[in-house]
């Protein structure tokens, strides 16, 4: 199995709404290397730029600055066959299990189009077979699913079809933007299981986007924590979850409602999330940070603190001997 690489170089995004500017994503660089396949979580609260990042990686959104390189080439300048290759190999599973379906078509449409597009040679029967296999792989009964309209299926079924779509295409890189936020606890496990098996069995690199750190902790190998478009902390998932360094990450981890009577929310005084950001220089978390210092008004860099553990916080001095490159720490 050949590998595919997707590289983000100084990618950032600025939205302009009227006169207002929203820095949805501040410059970020990292690559998804093919082997070994991993699951990288991008976490952060609502509006932190997760979906923006995903859309840019998928080539659905033009970055304001920087480039997205697929196999070393800028995706906006790919030639016909390269573009098709990019499309086939970089895929997504989206958050809203209803919105991904075109209400006009039966659910088959979602699976059939990519098969037809990416495997033009297949016969009708072969296509059907591919669809059935994919559905079974996510624990669905093809006969119960095919030929029905999206509104006739439950949210969990729809979400799993969505994952089945990724299986059918067999991409090298999968961006999963909140694939389980809309389903209930018991189904969540099923879907995540399907994602993990994609990595295991098909060597798919997965960017798992979520604000749910519980599941992130369970499925992923490493994590990038975003806050207002900037990376706050990144690294190996167990390291970050078990000993978060950045105050924001600490807050996040502390706020996880673990389904565990042993691990109740502590009484730590958390910063009020209502406080709106002051744009401009400085740490994005400054206004909410319980430990803020005057020097935090200068923008911190993302620096290594431990092996496979980066953070951008002026409270922590960088370890100069460690590699600061984001990719190498994921």
């Amino acid at each position: 199995m050949s590998t595919a690489t997707l590289e983000l170089k100084n990618v950032s995004k600025l939205y302009r709404v009227g006169k207002k500017e929203v820095h949805a994503l501040n410059p970020i660089s990292f690559d998804l290397l093919g082997d070994p396949a991993r699951i990288i979580t991008v976490a952060g609260e609502s509006g932190s730029g997760k979906t923006t990042l995903a859309s840019i990686m998928l080539g659905l959104l033009e970055p304001t600055t920087g480039q997205v390189l697929y196999e070393g080439k800028d995706v906006s300048t790919l030639s016909g066959s390269q573009y098709r290759d990019f499309r086939k190999n970089v895929q997504a599973v989206f958050q809203d299990p209803f919105a991904v379906f075109n209400p006009f078509y039966q659910v088959d449409h979602l699976l059939e189009v990519p098969i037809r597009k990416f495997n033009p040679g297949l016969s009708k029967a072969a296509r059907r077979k591919a669809m059935e296999e994919a559905l079974e792989a996510v624990g669905l009964q093809p006969s119960e699913i095919l030929g029905r309209y999206p509104h006739q299926l439950s949210g969990g079924q729809r979400q799993r079809i969505n994952v089945a779509r990724a299986i059918v295409i067999k991409p090298k890189i999968l961006v999963a933007d909140e694939p389980v936020s809309m389903v209930d606890a018991s189904l969540r496990a099923n879907i995540l299981e399907a994602l993990v098996s994609l990595r295991e069995n098909h060597k798919v690199n997965i960017l798992y986007i979520t604000h749910d750190l519980t599941t992130a902790y369970h499925v992923s190998d490493s994590i990038i924590v975003l806050y207002r478009g900037s990376v706050m902390e990144a690294g190996d998932i167990t390291k970050v979850v078990e000993s978060p360094q950045h105050p924001y990450t600490q807050l996040l981890i502390n706020s996880i409602p673990w389904p565990d009577l042993e691990r109740k929310w502590d009484n730590q005084q958390y910063a009020n999330p209502d406080i709106q950001e002051i744009s401009g220089e400085g740490c994005k978390f400054y206004s909410r940070c319980p430990n803020r210092k005057p020097e935090c008004q200068q923008t911190p860099n993302l620096v290594p603190l431990f092996p496979k553990h980066l953070a951008s916080c002026r409270l922590h001095p960088p370890k100069a001997d460690l590699d600061a490159h984001l990719t190498n720490n994921l």
Binding site: F94, D96, N102, K117, H151
Partner: protein
């Protein structure tokens, strides 16, 4: 399907009426003698009877025949103008919304600028500036449609814009569809209720505009268009003279045509409204 029609009563009745009108006209067109829709064909001023189902008018037209031909001609004007307006609207709306940028700005701007100009008055200006010998049912339709494509354009545009943001479009893109395929296979089918509603509104406008043009003497007056017949009855003081059947027949036909369209419009509204549809 049947259940759906049971629930969407307006659509059912509207379609029913429309089918009735179509059958009435088709049956009529196959059986009547066209000449009887024009003056001097039958005994004038006869009230409805078995012989003259809808009576006859001052000029000696058989009003049943006039109605058959009139519904047909009115439908042609409505359909032509409606179709033309809607198609232009769809094309421009799609172009504008999908390709955005300068094209969008220009199209949207033109539409917005033209919208406050009362279309009918411009139609009057045009109709009174062209040679009357060229005023046929077709030119009528053209005149009507000339300034009525902006509304569908704006509606389609805004629908496509919101549609474009829907996730299934992103998914289609990821599935390797190109822009054209996305427009026609993904977005277009979902706009059908809106397009149908825009079309119905266009037809409505066209039928009324042709009626008003007749009122000011600008239509193809010899033809038994419904509007022409109603206005002719008014010109001959039909009501005062006791020839009530003369204006009433075509008026009822007009009410049925437009009413059925309004009901269909209402039904399509329900269809396009996800809150209702989702209950299925």
């Amino acid at each position: 399907m049947i259940n759906y029609f049971k629930r969407n009563i307006s659509l059912t009745i509207g379609l029913g009426l429309l089918i009735f009108l179509i059958l009435f006209t088709l049956h009529g067109l196959l059986t009547v003698e066209f000449k009887q829709a024009y003056p001097l064909a039958v005994r004038p001023k006869q009230p409805p009877s078995l012989k003259y189902l809808f009576g006859t008018d001052f000029f000696g037209r058989d009003l049943y025949t006039a109605m058959v031909v009139g519904v047909w001609q009115t439908a042609i004007i409505g359909l032509l103008a409606g179709a033309a307006g809607t198609i232009i609207g769809i094309v421009l709306g799609f172009i504008s919304a999908y390709f955005s940028g300068l094209v969008d700005v220009v199209i949207k701007f033109i539409c917005q600028i033209l919208t406050p100009i009362p279309a009918f008055l411009i139609q009057v200006v045009i109709a009174s500036s062209i040679d009357k010998r060229d005023v046929t049912i077709i030119t009528m339709a053209v005149v009507v449609f000339l300034l009525s494509w902006m509304a569908p354009t704006l509606v389609i545009r805004s629908q496509v814009l919101s549609m474009r943001e829907r996730q299934f479009v992103a998914v289609a893109k990821l599935s390797g569809m190109n822009s054209l395929e996305i427009i026609f296979k993904e977005i277009f089918p979902n706009l059908l209720p809106f397009i149908a509603a825009a079309f119905v509104a266009q037809v409505f406008q066209a039928v009324f505009a042709s009626f008003y043009l007749a009122v000011i003497g600008l239509g193809p007056l010899r033809e038994p268009l419904l509007g022409n017949t109603i206005w002719a009855a008014q010109s001959q003081s039909a009501f005062f003279n006791g020839w009530w059947w003369w204006p009433v027949g075509p008026s009822v036909a007009m009410i049925l045509i437009l009413g059925s369209l309004a009901l269909i419009n209402m039904g399509l509204d329900e269809m396009a409204n996800p809150r209702i549809r989702n209950k299925e």
